[in-house]
């Protein structure tokens, strides 16, 4: 059993309070740094993809999990980041400048898309973003002078200060570094004044407003941050894919991102990364299982989407707090060993909260 026992003010807001936490994260970091030399080639590429999706999922988590604004159109920001990055690389902008610029451009678009969030919320906002993602896909297909249309756009290989990063291992490290930086930034942002304002807007707009939080401003800010981070992921994704087509950024990708944050557990950055890992690795896992299935089922491509749906349904029904919630429960079980009760995480009171009269 572990008790919070602060002996200085600083103790209350250090990120990793206990040696056990520090050791386990150090081990995780070592494992991730060593992984490219231990894993088979194929999995190094897969891990890089997991990191990219982790960044995108972190971006969406800021919006959905922390600010309570549902976006079903984040594939649009991935696409904008990817195309902006590829276009800038093709026009001679160096990689080190183009990568953050792609994030900034995506963030600027996020600002424009965030403006409606002042007026519409909930389901309506979800529909606006959904329509925006579809429209972006259409624009990507039509705006041939920049995006290459449906014929596609070749992405130049990443050159950082003259070093080619397109190799499997070097690209893995690039993605890992970006993920670590984004994670560090967001962890700190979410426990700052801004993050608390986000949570306030999520839990009760009226209460936050009455405490002096500029609700409209923070709603748009959440959009900008979320879009910028997702755009950064899009820029990395451009290198992972190598060849951009509008079909690569369809509605299913948006829904996959929402899946990641939902099964990860809303309102936790750890959950965003866990969810991204599960959802990105699922297709290759399914391809391992496929030979065991009857031939007729295995040949069709519908199995993947069925499993996605099944997992999402099971999480919504049986573990609404997602993977992060499960992790907290397991940890609480071991930390307070004999004292864990099954209802420890149960909400005291559940009631029907109608959103009809808003």
């Amino acid at each position: 059993m572990r008790y919070a026992y602060d002996i200085s003010y600083r103790d209350a807001h250090t990120l990793l309070r206990y040696p056990a936490g520090r050791w386990s994260y150090a081990l995780l970091a070592l494992a991730l740094i060593g992984a490219p030399w231990l894993l088979p080639q194929y999995y190094v590429g897969e891990m890089a993809y997991v990191f990219i999706m982790g960044v995108a999922s972190l971006g969406l988590m800021v919006l959905v999990g922390y600010t309570g604004q549902v976006s079903l159109g984040h594939s649009a920001f991935l696409a904008i980041g990817a195309y902006a990055h590829a276009w800038m690389l093709a026009h001679g902008v160096p990689f080190a400048l183009s990568l953050p610029l792609a994030g900034l451009i995506s963030g600027a678009v996020g600002f424009v898309i965030g403006l409606p969030s002042i007026r519409v919320s909930g389901l309506y906002l979800a529909m606006v973003t959904l329509a925006f993602a579809i429209l972006t896909g259409m624009v990507m297909g039509r705006w041939e002078s920049v995006t290459g249309g449906y014929t596609g756009l070749q992405v130049a290989s990443p050159l950082l200060f003259g070093v080619d990063l397109s190799g499997l291992r070097s690209f893995y490290y690039l993605c890992l570094v970006v993920l670590a930086l984004v994670l560090a930034g967001l962890v700190n942002l979410m426990r700052s004044q801004t993050g608390r304002a986000f949570a306030g807007v999520r839990d009760s707009e009226a209460a936050a407003y009455s405490l002096g939080v500029w609700v409209a401003g923070y709603k748009v800010l959440a959009f900008v941050i979320s879009a910028a981070v997702t755009g950064l992921a899009g820029a990395l994704l451009a290198h992972q894919v190598g060849f951009l087509t509008p079909e690569g950024f369809d509605l299913i990708l948006s829904l996959e991102l929402v899946l990641m944050v939902t099964i990860g557990g809303l309102g936790s950055l750890r959950g965003a990364i866990l969810g991204a890992a599960v959802i990105s690795l699922l297709p290759s896992l399914i391809s391992h299982v496929k030979p065991l299935l009857p031939d007729r089922m295995a040949k069709q491509f519908g199995l993947e989407i069925f499993v996605f749906g099944l997992i999402l349904a099971l999480f919504v029904l049986f573990e609404p707090r997602g993977l992060n919630g499960r992790w907290m429960k397991v940890r609480a079980f071991f930390e307070g060993f004999p004292l864990y009760r099954r209802d420890l995480f149960k909400r005291g009171k559940t009631y029907m909260k109608s959103e009809r009269y808003r």
Binding site: T262, G302, A313, V316
Partner: protein, 290 residues
């Protein structure tokens, strides 16, 4: 002039489909406050079932249509009674995610069961046209408009004049009060889902001969969402007006606006209406409660 009439006729036909899909969405939304993202996939699945019965098993259209409607209604009933009920009382987001999950599962099952290639079947009206003084309308389009009219009228009479219909209205206005006055709220909401499922089946059966039986058929739901928003979210007459208007807007945009606007129009309308005019055409005023 005749071009305008011709476009209006085509727009009314496709708009009637949008209106029916939108109506199904609004009914379930009013009854359970869940925006049913699986509606389009119930529609798609019933188009496949209709194909299997008509082209596969060789049933006549008039036998296959009620059977398909019954299957879709049963499916929708089960979705509500066995799945959606488990999350009653949770935030709206949970309902959205769960219906998306059901949509994914349906799409996966259909594509595993039937395969991904598109197909078509013949209806009693395929290939016939009627000439209204220069305006040629295919009989299938006439049937679509007629079906939409009949279903809307039947639904109107059912909801206004029968005890069960009034019970449905009561249950969707205030579940607790309806329950206290002796209405079986659970059964009634499941019934609403079943009705909306059967309506999706009608849309699927009538849309499939025009647009091919295909996995992508569910996309019509996104257009219907635009219709719902245009008409005013949660308003039954609004859904119908919005659907018809959207059909007309699309047809005219296809001719009078640059290439590519026809497909984008529904989504542009959706965004514009939500931002500039969130009440829609016939929506109720929304106050905000704290």
């Amino acid at each position: 002039m005749s071009q305008i009439l011709q476009l209006s006729a085509n727009g009314m036909a496709i708009g009637a489909i949008y209106a029916l899909v939108a109506l199904g969405l609004v009914l379930t939304y009013k009854a359970t406050e869940v925006l049913n993202f699986a509606h389009g996939d119930v529609l798609m699945a019933s188009a496949f079932v209709g194909w299997a019965l008509i082209a596969g098993a060789g049933w006549p259209f008039w036998a296959a249509a009620p059977a398909t409607m019954a299957i879709a209604a049963l499916l929708a009933w089960l979705i509500d009674a066995r799945v959606m009920r488990l999350i009653a009382g949770q935030p709206q987001f949970a309902g959205v995610m769960l219906t998306i999950a059901i949509a994914f599962m349906l799409r996966g099952l259909v594509s595993m069961g039937f395969g991904a290639q598109s197909r078509t079947y013949t209806t009693p009206w395929s290939g016939h046209n009627t000439d209204f003084g220069g305006v040629v309308v295919s009989d299938l389009n006439l049937v679509i408009v007629a079906a939409a009219l009949v279903i809307t009228l039947a639904l109107f009479v059912f909801l206004r004049k029968t005890n069960l219909g009034v019970a449905i209205q009561a249950a969707s206005q205030n579940q607790l009060a309806a329950y206290l006055s002796g209405i079986r709220v659970k059964r009634v909401t499941s019934l609403v889902w079943a009705i909306s499922g059967a309506m999706a089946a009608v849309c699927g059966l009538l849309l499939a001969p025009i647009a091919l039986v295909d996995i992508g058929l569910w996309v019509v739901m996104l257009k219907a969402l635009a219709a719902v928003v245009l008409g005013g979210f949660g308003s039954v007459p609004g859904a119908i007006v919005g659907g018809l208007l959207l059909g007309l807007i699309e047809q005219f945009a296809g001719v009078y606006l640059p290439d590519g606007f026809k497909d984008a129009m529904a989504y542009l309308v959706l965004i514009a209406v939500l931002i500039l005019w969130p009440r829609g055409l016939l929506g109720e005023a929304h106050g905000r409660r704290v």
